[in-house]
Subunit: 492 residues, 2 copies
């Protein structure tokens, strides 16, 4: 199999799919729409998890685990205030296989082993969690509950793409319960800010914070906060959402608490989540035609060292030096791998590490041993440099920060140059077609206009930005009055 | 709800169930046989996970993620060499709910949305993983594959108990692929040793290493290595297993590799796992009638500090001191919580921390401020002591080690005093009934005898110990010749 990727210009979508598979991030499985996350891809996801988990705990949250299955009746309770909730889910109806009496060697579902009540594989866990919280909450002393869960969820998507939209995906879902509306709103905003900080500082992906319109809001939410990122092909990607759920779930599952004054009141709720979709955002923000580009914060190996040698003696000499270098780099918290595989030649190793986005490659050959130098190759700029080995550790340390910052800056420049203020619908369509990106335009606030624009252009309102300035204007489609600009884009 | 537990003597099983719920470890859910792992219980599981994950990585393994679902046809392929594999699984047959036309407000499974092929919710992942490995392995250069997965699995158990046997549980499953039999056997043994080291050193639970008999072996395995622990009620608990799978799965899924010499050979395999069952082992090894007892390594809070005060001024003075103490303890890597909740009195806090097994409690009151002392209460020995505050950090540090060791020693003494050498079947039955524990007895090596003993006594052969001495004798049941003693016990 050729390691070379289709270029982004040629076919962006093909480039993406090839990169995911060839860089060993993930692949399709024998199960329709479900992916295998390969060790290298999973190592990146573990870095995402670890940092987010740290941030959740720092803001007072604890992890817990709730059942994979949700009885159909709990779904019905939720359904009352979430009519729009998707019903494409995996449904368990039976609990036993048996040898098929008509086909020796084959198995069949035992028709006798039918469940009394069907179980839904969780597409999200509000229903089972709020049904559980009912038992945990009696009085104000039991509040707040600040719980998060790392879990797999299943949504029966018809058209799937690795990381971006898969039938099963991994995510975290926070579910909190509060005594007051003010506190719950504050929590939903806090977690959206946590996501923004994480995605920007850790993943080097700039985002716009805002809230969703009525039609794009999570069913059952009163307000949906979100962070929106921009991919290289000019399409937006929703990177995380945080919902203020009001008392909707408390009412659906009858969860009340005794206030300090002894009154019975419904509990206020939030939920918030990010998923393995972030891997898609990572790839489509930083990568290039040579493969993955990783910000140092997310790289399983920040540095890889490749020895160039002609004989065992040279390899041994290089190895001795590399051990010293690795010790120093590790003492500074830098992850480094010595790629001393004898089954691959240096060229093949270079190609692999480039494809897999290792931020910095160090090559050491006999000449370097003589001269006291090493060759550094940056993945982000694809530049090489021979430097003296003396201050290697400081140089590498500095480069880690610089690469992280450079990637963020580059993505930010791209994003900022792809926000276009537009005041008439013809320009709206032209910009969308020729340049893409976010279109900042006036909107009359009606769902009718929003849906009409979507129908005509496939662009949706990604968010009403948190920092939207009040500004009167005319709706870009209807011409009706508007009091501020919202962001439209085509989206993943 | 009373916080007091039923005593172990009165009803061991009831004590266990009450402890799990009252100590906030887990509870039953709305889904038959599935549990909710509560934040406190999950925090303990996270400690187990973190340490095991570290050990897996240290021994060269990487994490990955495979689909939750397994198509029925893959099960059939596996079935050929694993006839005995349990078929009690959750089966997904449909992918859509719809509003029930006959019952407004209710949902039903859309009969049109039937899957072409049923999907099994993974009870274990050999089938889907080996079907994937087929694509990963071409030559010896692709081996070994050393992969682990942290996942939820489902087995449709009829009789469930929190942590010990639940329909859904959390576990890790390692799945490795090797070029040679020797290497695979070594891996299976290595991982059983990793489990033993972890359970003994980290969880303070002594275990016996050994292999399973033919009838107790995992279906599809050539050899099953295991670690067996002994619970306080004299029943054994299998704490972990590691399987040498031979070439069985490679053959079932046609996974061959080109050797260095260019020959095509089937790949050798292992799999190994531990689960949330370890939480059950933890509880039943160390806890007492007052509640959970945690070894410091597994305690979410190793130390809790409770202030005793009559007014805000005293609380403030105590808090100032506590901040200093916490800073010092944390600098030594000790996790400490200041329980300054104003909604609970000290007595209630003491009771809660005792029930939840916090290894060390520090109480500080006005008298202590005057005298420069604090009160230490050890959970394991239930002893209290007033000590000078001067060398508190050193004392606490020392106690962490001491408590960990004391718990292990106590469990080891109990275990060792419950291994009884028995040479006739009458004594076998009496010991089992009166004392329980492991019975070390000669066995003729036949499945017939093993099953007969199980039928008559409910005791099974837990393992053929790794350190079994060759010793000729007569089978405790049949009188036929035997060449060593194996360990029988009733088991969870």
């Amino acid at each position: 199999m050729s390691k070379k990727l289709t270029s982004r210009d040629e076919d962006y979508s093909k480039w993406y799919n090839e990169l995911v598979v060839k860089a060993d991030l993930a692949e399709n499985s024998a199960v329709r729409g479900c992916m295998v996350i390969k060790p290298y891809g999973f190592a990146i996801w573990e870095k995402i998890q670890a940092e987010l988990d740290r941030m959740f705990k720092e803001t007072g949250h604890q992890n817990a685990y709730f059942p994979l299955f949700i009885p159909k009746s709990l779904f019905e309770a939720e359904e009352k205030n979430a009519e729009g909730f998707a019903k494409e889910c995996a449904i368990v109806t039976h609990y036993r296989l048996q040898n098929d009496p008509e086909n020796p060697g084959k198995l069949r579902v035992d028709p006798e082993a039918k469940l009394e009540e069907e179980l839904i594989v969780r597409p999200t866990s509000e229903a089972i969690i709020w049904n559980t919280y009912k038992g945990w909450i009696q009085s104000y002393r039991d509040l707040p509950i600040l719980v998060n869960q790392w879990a797999n969820v299943v949504r029966w998507e018809m058209r799937t793409r690795l990381f971006l939209r898969t039938a099963e995906f991994l995510w975290q879902e926070g579910h909190t319960a509060h005594a007051t509306k003010v506190e719950a709103v504050k929590e939903a905003e806090l977690m959206n800010n946590v996501y923004a900080t994480f995605v920007e500082n850790f993943m080097a992906i700039p985002v716009i914070k805002g809230v969703k319109t009525d039609s794009e809001r999570f069913a059952g939410a009163v307000e949906t906060y979100c962070i929106e990122a921009l991919m290289q092909d000019g399409k937006a990607l929703q990177a995380g959402t945080s919902h203020f759920l009001g008392q909707n779930f408390a009412k659906a599952f009858d969860v009340k608490f005794a206030t300090q004054e002894g009154k019975q009141e419904y509990v206020w709720a939030t939920s918030w989540g990010v998923s393995t979709r972030l891997m898609g955002a990572l790839i489509m923000t930083h990568s290039d035609d040579h493969g993955l580009v990783l910000p140092p914060n997310l790289a399983p190996n920040q540095v890889v060292i490749v020895p160039i040698y002609k004989n065992d003696e040279q390899l041994e000499e290089i190895s001795t030096l590399v051990n010293v270098i690795m010790g120093e780099l590790r003492s500074k918290g830098i992850t480094v791998k010595f790629d001393n595989r004898t089954t691959f030649r240096p060229g093949a190793k270079f190609a692999q590490h480039e494809l897999q986005g290792v931020p910095l490659r160090i090559a050491i050959g006999p000449k370097d041993l003589e001269n006291g130098t090493v060759e550094l190759a940056r993945r982000d700029t694809l530049t090489k440099e021979v430097i003296a080995i003396d201050n290697l550790t400081e140089t590498v340390e500095g480069l880690m920060t610089e690469i992280q910052n450079t990637l963020y800056k580059k993505a930010l420049d791209f994003r900022d140059s792809h926000i276009t203020e537009v005041d008439d619908f013809e320009t709206f369509k032209t910009v969308l077609k020729t340049k893409g990106g976010f279109i900042s335009a006036h909107w009359d606030g009606t769902e009718e206009t929003e849906l009409k624009i979507k129908e005509l252009t496939k662009a949706t309102i990604r968010c009403i930005p948190s920092d939207m300035e009040t500004q009167s204007g005319d709706c870009v489609y209807s011409g009706k009055p508007s009091n501020g600009r919202v962001l439209f884009a085509k989206a993943y």
